[in-house]
């Protein structure tokens, strides 16, 4: 599908600029041009498609649905899936959390949503698709959603409500199912398209700089780090590699857009894909900035339990990826 683009990158770097294909610089530049254009195209397409899906399932409607319906466990899967579909914005995570609690949605279900939302989103899917192909993307999306379901269900079983901060606990006590009717937009699909395209452009623009930095770092490593370089340190047989990668990843924060191109180089140069993905999930899903935000609604103990359970699930999925991919 992207052969034409490779030809273009070859032509631009080797023929027009005249850098030898055998040189490190040539290889790095070629990788940069090819990846940047490919990912920007995918990013726009996926954001646009997700925008369409989203216009049918706005977050308010999802909340009302989860708040009103008992689904006998299915609500975890729904919350997690919606977390994947909804565009993620870290500054919305706390209002969202409280809104869910207010609507009487169980804490575990709220967590399921909160965990999947940063892990799987339109930007992550587009870049993943561009760098790892369809099969790995599917595995990633499905496991990201399952990770939310399982962590959410485990947290839901732990009766953590008393560990919310005081005022959120007040909100929780007064929680009631939302009855307000969602004021659906009265525009037709065709009328909505310009807005969706505009928003897709907005999203692409807002992550552009991270994507470029990520690809630039990836390209530099691609051109200069020798094949199998990491393998001598972290091979598939190093049993502690996955937990170590997760522990290193938790304090760090980068959005999916910036980290995936770097991860791809890790994989290309010999770090097992499960270990790399576990690292990425820890970086994107858990971070110090996120902890600071959540501190407003959770006591330290709850925060530690939350991070602990999610980290454990990420470690398990890391081992699992190493086995199946």
């Amino acid at each position: 599908m992207f052969d034409w683009l490779q030809h273009f990158a070859d032509w631009l770097i080797y023929a027009v600029i005249g850098i030898s294909p055998q040189s490190h610089l040539g290889e790095a530049l070629n990788f940069f041009v090819y990846d940047t254009i490919k990912i920007l195209i995918l990013l726009f397409l996926i954001t646009f498609l997700m925008g369409i899906v989203n216009s049918y399932f706005p977050i308010d409607r999802i909340k009302n649905f989860l708040s009103r319906n008992k689904l006998y466990g299915g609500e975890y899967l729904m919350a997690s899936t919606f977390g994947a579909v909804t565009p993620f914005c870290s500054c919305s995570s706390v209002p969202l959390f409280i809104g869910f609690v207010k609507g009487g949605i169980p804490l575990g279900v709220t967590f399921a949503f909160l965990i999947t939302s940063p892990l799987v989103n339109e930007v992550a899917i587009a870049i993943f698709l561009g760098m790892f192909g369809v099969k790995a993307t599917l595995v990633y999306v499905v496991s990201g959603i399952l990770l939310g379901v399982i962590s959410g269900a485990v947290l839901g079983k732990m009766n953590l409500e008393p560990l919310l901060t005081d005022w959120v606990r007040q909100v929780w006590k007064q929680a009631k199912a939302d009855q307000e009717v969602f004021d659906a937009e009265k525009t037709t699909f065709v009328q909505r398209i310009p807005t969706i395209i505009k928003e897709a452009f907005g999203i692409v623009k807002s992550v552009l700089v991270y994507v470029l930095i990520g690809i630039a770092i990836g390209a530099a490593m691609h051109g200069y780090v020798p094949e199998g370089f990491f393998e001598q340190y972290i091979g598939k047989d190093t049993w502690y590699a996955v937990p170590l990668a997760v522990l290193l990843g938790i304090p760090m924060y980068a959005n999916a857009a910036g980290i995936i191109p770097v991860i791809q180089v890790f994989v290309a140069k010999g770090i097992p894909i499960g270990t790399s993905l576990a690292f990425m999930m820890a970086v994107v899903g858990l971070s110090i900035p996120e902890a600071t935000l959540l501190k407003k609604v959770m006591t330290t103990k709850l925060l530690l339990i939350f991070f602990g359970v999610v980290a454990a699930c990420i470690i398990l999925s890391g081992y699992l990826f190493n086995l199946i991919l």
Binding site: C89, C91, S92, P95, G99
Partner: protein, 78 residues
Amino acid sequence: MATSIKILGPGCAKCKTTFEVVKKAVEQSGVQAEITKIEDLEGMMKYNILTTPVVVVNEQIKISGRVPSVDEILKLLN
């Protein structure tokens, strides 16, 4: 009576942009409006919101979860 406009958001980049957009729109329209920023969570959660930034005009939620354009705010003001 002056129109009351509140911008709800915990101080992220999108919320700041929204504030600037609203300020610009109010200036352009010449409407008398009082613009307030609400950045504390408890104040924010008095409104039924899920995503930020939110623009509240005369106590009614008008825009939520995205940065509006100047034109949009101008329409809301008229």
